[in-house]
Amino acid sequence: MNGESLPPFEQVVSDYYEGLYRFAYSLARNPDEASDLTQDVFVIFAKKGSSLRDPSKLKSWLFTSLYREFLRKRKRAQKFTPVDKEILENHSSGNSGIGTQTDAKIVLDALEQLEEIFRVPLSLFYLEDFSYQEIASTLDVPIGTVMSRLSRGKQQLKSILTPTTAHTPQT
């Protein structure tokens, strides 16, 4: 315990709800689901946050909770709901997105194509300026793994976003 105390609840909401929503959106690709996930995290924080002893871990704690909640909900959805492929395709094409800018949509679509082990650290890396150590503790993996996934993920992202050189037929 470092002697500092957690900021007031409303302050925590003000400081983190936007970043959490963007992270949730990058995971769920659906504004309603992203809103629900963001709200869920603060409900969890309201119930369990007082057990958090080190305020410097607050950000990491919130993002970890959101990620776990996302995984938990997805697992439950897979268990109980037959997923319609067409719905998934529409979902991932960003049709449901409100207020998502064009470039953001392109980037999110590209991120969507990456495997989750690359997509999640990259989202944290770009969205929230998380340090490598913070990403490691959020995802509960060693820092070396984070660096390697970021590097590989970024290369894949680049290859998706960078148009391939036009093939000129030889005459």
Binding site: L6, P8, F9, E10, V13, S14, Y17, E18, Y21, R22, Y25, S26, P31, S35, T38, Q39, F42, V43, F45, A46, K47, G49, S50, I98, G99, T100, Q101, D103, A104, I106, V107, L108, S123, F125, Y126, L127, D129, S131, Y132, M147, L150, S151, K154, L157, K158
Partner: protein, 262 residues
């Protein structure tokens, strides 16, 4: 350090965030004297910036913060307090004396300090009234009376007084210079709230002034200063004066609200 590793650190380098990482420091040191690495660093930084900007432009739902506070305040505290056996016995004894609650009945706020803050944030009158007001503005048909059109503030006041509705005690300054008035009333937890719509004279910006009785908001004090909140395309100010609570919602950014409130 091999060039491959240097590049790996450089491609993940974000200015202002990663300088303290020893391996990044080394890689930056190597790049300082190598034009090819510098060019590589520049390209990678541009790419990072593009992705970062793109993702940061995901817009946030306007009422999300209020929704969070409202939902958290609505949550029952589910913390289960498990007493040891001796405490149960003691409780039985004390129960007979009718003192159980004072000894063993911690409130949710006692057991969870955050719960008190959540409750306080949840009953934040600003959040509560604003949420209600915005919901109404989205569905104006919820008005309890028909809209009454007026050409002056005095006419508005007379109308509200004659209908026994909260009216601005004094001529509220932002309304003084306005034009194109109309007003109606709303039911808020069984009490009447007046709504005066008007257009600011200079800019024509649509403004909505909600007036309620202060006694309906026990957490607010008399003569509370103006508290402002801003959103993407609207802004709101709440203040109290005498026995009234005023909430002004302006369909414009904060700067315009400041002009209206000046």
């Amino acid at each position: 350090m091999k060039t491959k590793h240097i590049k790996q650190h450089l491609e993940l380098y974000r200015q202002g965030i990663d300088e303290n990482e020893p391996c990044v420091q080394k890689a930056l040191g190597q790049a300082a004297n190598d034009s090819q690495l510098q060019s590589f660093l520049h390209d990678e930084a541009s790419f990072n910036l593009r992705i970062q900007k793109s993702l940061q432009s995901i817009s946030i739902p306007e009422n999300l913060k209020q929704d969070i506070l409202t939902r958290c305040a609505e949550q029952p505290d589910e913390k289960i307090i498990i007493f040891p056996w001796w405490a149960k016995v003691a409780a039985m004894v004390v129960l007979s004396g009718g003192l159980l609650v004072s000894f063993f009945g911690p409130t949710p706020q006692d057991s969870n300090p955050l719960a008190a803050q959540v409750a306080a944030a949840g009953i934040d009158s600003f959040v509560e009234l604003e949420s209600f007001a915005k919901q109404f503005l989205k569905s104006p048909s919820l008005a309890s009376n028909k809209y009454h059109h007026a050409s002056s503030v005095d006419e508005i006041r007379n109308y509200l007084l004659s209908h026994n509705l909260p009216e601005p005690h004094l001529l509220v300054k932002p309304v003084e210079g306005a034009e194109r008035f109309d007003c109606t009333s709303l039911d808020y937890k069984g009490n009447k709230v007046s709504l005066v719509n008007f257009a600011e004279k200079q800019s024509g910006i649509r403004c909505h002034l909600f007036i309620a009785a202060l006694k309906e908001f026990p957490t607010l004090n008399q003569n509370k200063g103006v508290e402002v909140r801003e959103y993407t395309d609207s802004s709101a100010a709440l203040w109290t004066c005498g026995e009234r609570v005023y909430l002004m919602i302006v369909e414009a950014p904060r700067e315009q609200l400041d002009i209206v409130m000046r």
